[in-house]
Subunit: 467 residues, 2 copies
């Protein structure tokens, strides 16, 4: 049965690519209000595509960009697991334009330096190529399998690239309609082009901005230099104190809730055989900058960080200006692991800054929000079904990997819908998401469609549902 | 004799103000190419005004804004000192416009919060009001004293606010024409509204920019945070190491050539009776931030500094962006004293930075130039003549003050023309030069004209000249 459906997908691959290209042509840049109508257009396109595949799809307006909710397959509660598939139709801004090899919203297939066919476009990997692997898998089930094999709800949002402000209110308001047994999130990567992955943990994220004020107005450094407190110096000192020489964050209590990596996971990750020199070399480094004595993967997936993402103060234009500014500021973000509490991290950071303010200085903080880390319980029937599907497609076991980044939606699904998530994606680390010349391997697209076909087949055989 | 000339100046004060207003109306902003023709206009206005007063004035084009050179009075070498008066007709940009009480190029007289009449306009204090005190003093000598009392050369430039790029080449090319015995520079302040000052020392200035590079491109802090070296952290650590807790600069050799303040000067400055709390309070401070244990005036006039004038790296726009940038940079300037050598300071700064670079980081430096400190030998006939003139006008001795800022022209006069300078000005520290709502007290203008009248009278009685 599954073989028939795989064959249908194979023979329909060109058409599938054509449909993906149509979606890629819509510049659904969510952070820029000028593109709001294009985001609408992308939402409507997705709803139509889902309708074509047998879903009952609706576009729901929000105070931001619309949500697409589609229901299909056998009725829920029929003894089969009810899946909720999530993706996002919005994309990052394409800037800087002059660094793209071809226009970012005119998708094309090229051969890259590996000799592989790639789809070059903004959104090819994040997230349109990924979400289309699932929709095209559903299409193959409809055309060659008699219909969708399970109750499936598809939820597509249009604000993931700008912090998903409408998401939690929407989940809360529509919790009844969005009932399911497990969420499928297709927004992560494979271990490499030959090895699929299931992401087993995500780091959390907490963002703070701090503004240090000292003198009451910008001052001429001749007339006041010496006696005048310089907030850039104060800020630099505080930021410099955030880490010790071994890369350990110095905030009191920062490592509360951070457990040492279990040996089993350490062994699994070591067995992945990451070429650390190649990883570091690709970003211009010879040494990892994280906590001394820990592997690159451990630093990236299982250790918390504190990074200054931006700093500004004083005169930053061309040439010189001998000013002592009134203020200096920095944007700081923390990647969280384990049971670290975003609110506690914010508090210890603010206290740390305040304790280090010399006379005549004040600090103002702007909280930009936070989400804790998430670790998935591996095992369970959905996980096993996914593993089988992936092993069948790739001929090798899926790697169980962490992720250095954060996917807040996963926390929202747990909080608002009581749902666990399976994170399965077909992107690659060199897809240049958020950068110019974003790509998605045609092989990722093809394997992705085929993997979902298989996974849906495996899931269909599970007892389950009723929720 | 001098009384007659003072009386003429007194009765002509309204006309003098009228002429100053005409000059203030010309928006001679030298940093902005859009105002180049207005700078020309100001130069021509000055040449005409000098011509009216009996000078033979010429406008000399340069590759930048023109120089005005005017000669007047008895022929040089007639047994009298030959004076070279310097001022600048260009002004700072007026931005930010929305903070001005009235349009910056529509001068007016207002009463300020002290009940004093002030001239409100960009350039009122820096430097048009100041240079006009001298020109109007010359006018009074011509109208009531039979002519200029001494050989006087007037040199006005139009690029002081943008680093005077044309000045040194001009001095070199015209050294013969610009021969004199002493330079008079009217670009400094009084000690307070009742106490004139002669500035006895100027700090030097050295400017460097440093760019730290780490990773080879901007990175997503989820995908790379931990292993990825962050250049903002590296820069912050280096900048934080520049000073110890006592405010002492940590660059090796930084204090070479910095002598302790002679007791006599320390006593003179203590006797000035600066209200340290008021000075600091006016800029929002309760404590001076310079080297511990030194008075505010010593920190400001006789101690070297290192100030970061600007810092930038990563994302600095609205909201957040979880980026680890490829670079971070800072503009650093040093105020110099004594025999500190700008080139040696640049070298020790660069070595200091390089030594503190961790693996995989590099530093690029941009040298923005430098001038050493200048201290004047007080005493000598010109100095005494100036003291007498000022004491006669104000009824109190001139304070002998330092200056935290730098006036590179003074070094240029010494280097190119072999001239010492007398720094006498009538501005006040609250004139808000380089800021919105710049003002010049009408009393400063009046006392300035009268002081120059007296000083020229005193100078005329000296033997001298022949250079």
């Amino acid at each position: 049965m599954v073989d028939r459906i795989l064959a249908a997908a194979e023979s329909g691959l060109e058409s599938s690519l054509g449909r993906l290209f149509a979606l890629l042509r819509i510049p659904s840049v969510s952070t820029d209000p000028e593109f709001a109508s294009r985001c609408n257009e992308a939402a409507m396109w997705c709803a139509e595509a889902l309708g074509d595949v047998g879903f009952d799809a609706k576009v729901h307006p929000t105070s931001g960009h619309p949500m697409v909710v589609a229901h299909g397959g056998p009725p829920a509660g029929a003894g089969m697991p009810h899946l909720l598939f999530y993706g996002h139709y919005d994309v990052q801004p394409p800037d800087p334009l002059d660094q793209w090899r071809a226009p970012p919203f005119e998708p094309r297939i090229e051969k890259d330096e590996r000799g592989e066919d790639i789809i070059l476009a903004r959104g090819a990997s994040d997230d349109k190529g990924q979400l289309m692997t699932f929709i095209e898998a559903c299409r193959a089930w409809k055309s060659a399998g008699g219909g969708l094999p399970l109750p499936i709800t598809v939820l597509l949002e249009g604000e993931e690239e700008c912090g998903s402000p409408s998401l939690e209110p929407f989940l809360e308001a529509h919790a009844g309609e969005l009932k399911a047994d497990v969420a499928l999130v297709c927004d992560t990567a494979m271990w490499n082009a030959r090895t699929p992955a299931i992401t087993s943990m995500l780091r959390g994220l907490m963002l703070e901005e701090v503004v240090i004020s000292a003198v009451s107005r910008d001052l001429h450094s001749g007339m006041f230099g010496g006696p005048a407190r310089n907030p850039i110096h104060v800020l630099a000192r505080i930021l410099a104190s955030l880490h010790d020489d071994g890369g350990r964050v110095q905030l009191p209590g920062f490592y509360d809730g951070v457990a040492e990596l279990p040996d089993e996971i350490r062994r699994q990750w070591d067995a992945l055989g990451l070429d650390e020199a190649a990883y570091l070399g690709e970003i211009g480094l010879s040494q990892p900058a994280g906590e001394t004595g820990r592997s690159v993967l451990e630093q990236l997936w299982a250790r918390p960080t504190c990074d200054v993402n931006g700093i500004i103060g004083g005169y930053t234009g061309k040439g010189t200006k001998t000013v002592i500014p009134a203020k200096a500021s920095a944007k700081v973000s923390f990647r969280l692991v384990g049971r670290q509490d975003p609110r506690a991290i914010a508090e210890t950071f603010r206290a740390f800054v305040r304790e280090r303010l010399p006379a005549d200085c004040s600090a103002e903080f702007i909280r930009h929000g936070g989400d804790p880390a998430i670790a998935f319980n591996l095992g369970g029937p959905y996980f096993e079904a996914a593993r089988k599907g992936l092993a069948g497609e790739f001929g090798t076991d899926a790697a169980l990997i962490g992720c250095g980044g954060s996917i807040p939606i996963v926390g929202s699904f747990k909080r608002r819908l009581g749902l666990d998530s399976l994170l399965i994606g077909f992107a690659l680390d060199d897809d240049r998401i958020h950068s110019p010349n974003e790509k998605y391997d045609v092989a990722s697209f093809r394997h992705g469609i085929r993997s979902w076909i298989r996974i849906l087949g495996e899931m269909r055989q599970l007892e389950g549902g009723g929720s």
